[in-house]
Amino acid sequence: MTPKTAIATLLASLLALAPAALAQSTKPAPSNPSSSSKVGAKPAAKQADPPAAAADEQEKKQIFILPLEGTVGIQLRAKDMHTIKDMANAAGPGQIVIIKINSNGGLVLETPEIQAALMGIRDGGHRLVAWIEKAISGGAFTAMYAPEIYFMRTGSMGSITRISGQAWVEQGAQEWEDAVARTCEMGGRSPFVGRAMVHAEDLLSYDVDPDTGEVTFYDTLEGTHALSNAKENLTFNASNALACKFSSGTADTLDDLLTAMGVPKGQYEVSAAGNKVFEKWKRTCEQCEKEVPELFRQYQLGGTGTGDGNVILNKRIDAIKKLLEWWKKAPEMLRFQFQVPPPEQLEEQLEQLKYQQQQARKQRDGAGN
């Protein structure tokens, strides 16, 4: 499959998934950031109906914080989002899930699964919040699913143009823009914002109603505040995202964030689960980055100095077996980061090497007789 056809196929699957997910998501966003949301005023609505025993320490709801860092589809995985979704669901509806994003983007092919996981969190009756350190391209796309977005002061979010290498992917460009616009709407935002993040020619400006504070976005430059002209691609910083209410607030630390979110003290406790999930995968990726080049080296050079074909074969067999183990532990890293041949191909090679080893053994035994 060529990269273009792969993207087209994945795009098609994403487009197919979008309406269904939208339909499933019956729970509206806590408030529409593009209208008249007030920072810190939203959250109480969801926690307003605790059971009678809510005061009990054991009944406290959880705040799951899942750091999402690195390349979308490699280090930043939908799988981890699914894990947190399952944990939140197990704790019952009304949990808070914060995805803390620091990513330059990545692979389009991960987006259907990201959508399924994040919309699954919302459908489970949980409060989904994106906390932006850096959300560029696929990172921004991921954040769009959250009805509430908060920025760190250093935060930036946008630039969702689909590229391959350093070239714009023209095929399916409009479909991609439509998909981003729909995702924007799924988060309760104006689709114009998403479009301006995808293609330069899409304009964006807004007005703020002086009485209600309500924000109206335009896909023209007729608004008082211009955000993106015909040569620009929208990328927000903390201040302009807040000014147009795209973001619900700005917070650098978790304490600041919870305050900005209006999380009532004593009713929630911060769970370490999300961080554990993140750290575990991060360690795996780091270990993989260290070991896989060593295995390449072993495969290429291991035992060659001995001049003993059997030693060389053993080294190669061992390297392939370990690569196959890595395929199970970190398939994303092997496929995209290192471009290691697929497991089937490695299995085939392993069989060939084993066969050669057998033959060599037979020859040696024959020679011995």
Binding site: T154, G158, S159, T161, A200, K231, E232, N233, T304
Partner: protein, 424 residues
């Protein structure tokens, strides 16, 4: 200078000596009041940022320390190498341990220097922009030092380092200092395709503008400093300065569509970006309202400021790591050219030392990569080839056969790894 500002400045200067004694560190509300006093405080002895104030504290050891304890942390040299998150961590750890009353970060970093005829690239190297680690450096300075008053004193900044200056709300300049060189950000979005150009440009400018957000500066300023086609001007609206991305304001900073906006010390002060200009630390402290102060000294070397010592140690350590690696590299190359067979073992040992040095020192490894050396994986590949050759030779010797063994043929001095670049 407008007449009203001149009057305000004169009044402020006259008022300063009366109001300044032992005032708590505080940003002045009015910019003109931050102008330096005509007479310098008695404690100021020289122009080096970290040195002068150690003296007053020593002069009266028996008496109670006079004035606030000031920790001076110098960021000097190449951005991303000399000015590095690891140095930042060392400063922060030391500041937390020593608990000063005020921290003065100084910034002296140029990718471009005034040469004999014209501006030229700094021969020591150019800054490296690695946004994740540098943003974390910023978070470290901001979050770890919450509760400790901090300020930035720009000696001179041309290049990515200018981002750090704008990350401080309280910024002072040295006369003649620049806030310039953010046009280097444009190197990161130099792409032909207009869609990709827009994507990359807005992404990298947005990321870099995060530094301006932390300092509370309008991101229009950052944009104009990073995008040549954007203009920048400012107008006063009452006491507030309003920035616009055009040349229609009262004060045009950049009216060109081909130049990057930049500021010298005077302009930065006039437009309220900087709180004032100071030639030396004494003058800076005077502007902050302190006639007396003491620089927190280094424990190992009380003649030096604590931060100055940490900075000097850091520069020495990473440069030594790089220089040693470079010497080993050059020695290995020249010996291999002389007699590859004879010196292979020596070259292998050199390469192993290089790998060890570079794995332990990120700044040295960054410079190593900037200066067109093979990366760590390529070095390790070569070490493994030599190792196999050595095994082959030993085996041959043992078998009493001579020759090169079976595996040695793959060796040589080239580089390459599966999927990796070739060439050395």
């Amino acid at each position: 200078m407008p007449v009203m500002r001149r009057i305000a400045l004169t009044l402020a200067v006259l008022a300063l000596p009366l109001l300044a004694f032992q005032a708590p560190p505080k940003k002045d509300a009015t910019k003109p009041a931050t102008k330096p006093a005509a007479t310098k405080p008695a404690t100021t002895k020289d122009t080096a940022p970290a040195k002068p104030a150690a003296k007053p504290a020593e002069a009266a050891p028996a008496a109670a320390p006079a004035g606030p304890r000031v920790y001076v942390a110098p960021f000097t040299g190449i951005w991303g190498l000399d000015i590095h998150p690891e140095l930042c961590q060392r400063f922060v750890d030391d500041i937390k341990a020593k608990k000063p009353d005020l921290v003065v970060f100084t910034l002296d970093s140029q990718d471009l220097k005034e040469g004999f005829y014209t501006a030229e690239r700094n021969e020591d190297g150019s800054g490296v922009f690695e946004d994740d680690s540098q943003r974390r450096m910023l978070k470290l300075l901001d979050e770890e030092l919450r509760g400790t008053p901090t300020m930035m004193w720009v000696q001179d900044s041309w290049g990515y380092s200018t981002l750090l200056a704008f990350a401080f709300k309280d910024m002072y300049m040295k006369p003649g200092a620049r806030l310039d060189g953010l046009g280097r950000v444009a190197e990161r979005y130099s792409i032909e395709d207009p869609q990709v150009l827009a994507k990359f440009r807005e992404a990298v400018v947005g990321i870099a503008n995060g530094f301006f957000e932390v300092g509370g500066y309008d991101i229009m300023i950052g944009r104009a400093m990073m995008r040549p086609e954007l203009k920048l001007s400012a107008s006063w609206k009452g006491r507030d300065l309003v920035w616009t991305q055009d040349a229609d304001g009262t004060w045009v900073v950049d009216g060109s569509e081909k130049a990057f906006a930049a500021f010298d010390a005077d302009t930065a002060e006039d437009l309220g970006l900087a709180d004032g200009s100071a030639s030396d630390l004494g003058e800076l402290m005077f502007l902050r309202g302190f006639r007396e102060f003491q620089v927190v000294p280094s424990e190992q070397d009380p003649e030096m400021g604590a931060g100055e010592r940490i900075g000097a140690d850091w520069h020495r350590a990473w440069n030594k790591a790089f220089d040693t690696a470079e010497e080993l590299w050059q020695d290995a190359r020249s010996k291999l050219q002389l007699d590859a067979g004879k010196y292979t073992d020596l070259a292998k040992r050199h390469y192993e030392k290089i790998v060890d040095l570079l794995e332990k020192n990120d700044a040295a490894y960054t410079k190593w990569r900037m200066t067109r050396h093979p990366d760590l994986n390529q070095l390790k590949d070569q070490i493994e080839r030599w190792k196999q050759e050595q095994i082959a030779r030993n085996k041959a010797k043992k078998d009493n056969q001579g020759g090169s063994g079976t595996g040695g043929g793959r060796g040589g001095r080239g580089f390459g790894s599966p999927g990796g670049p070739g060439g050395g």
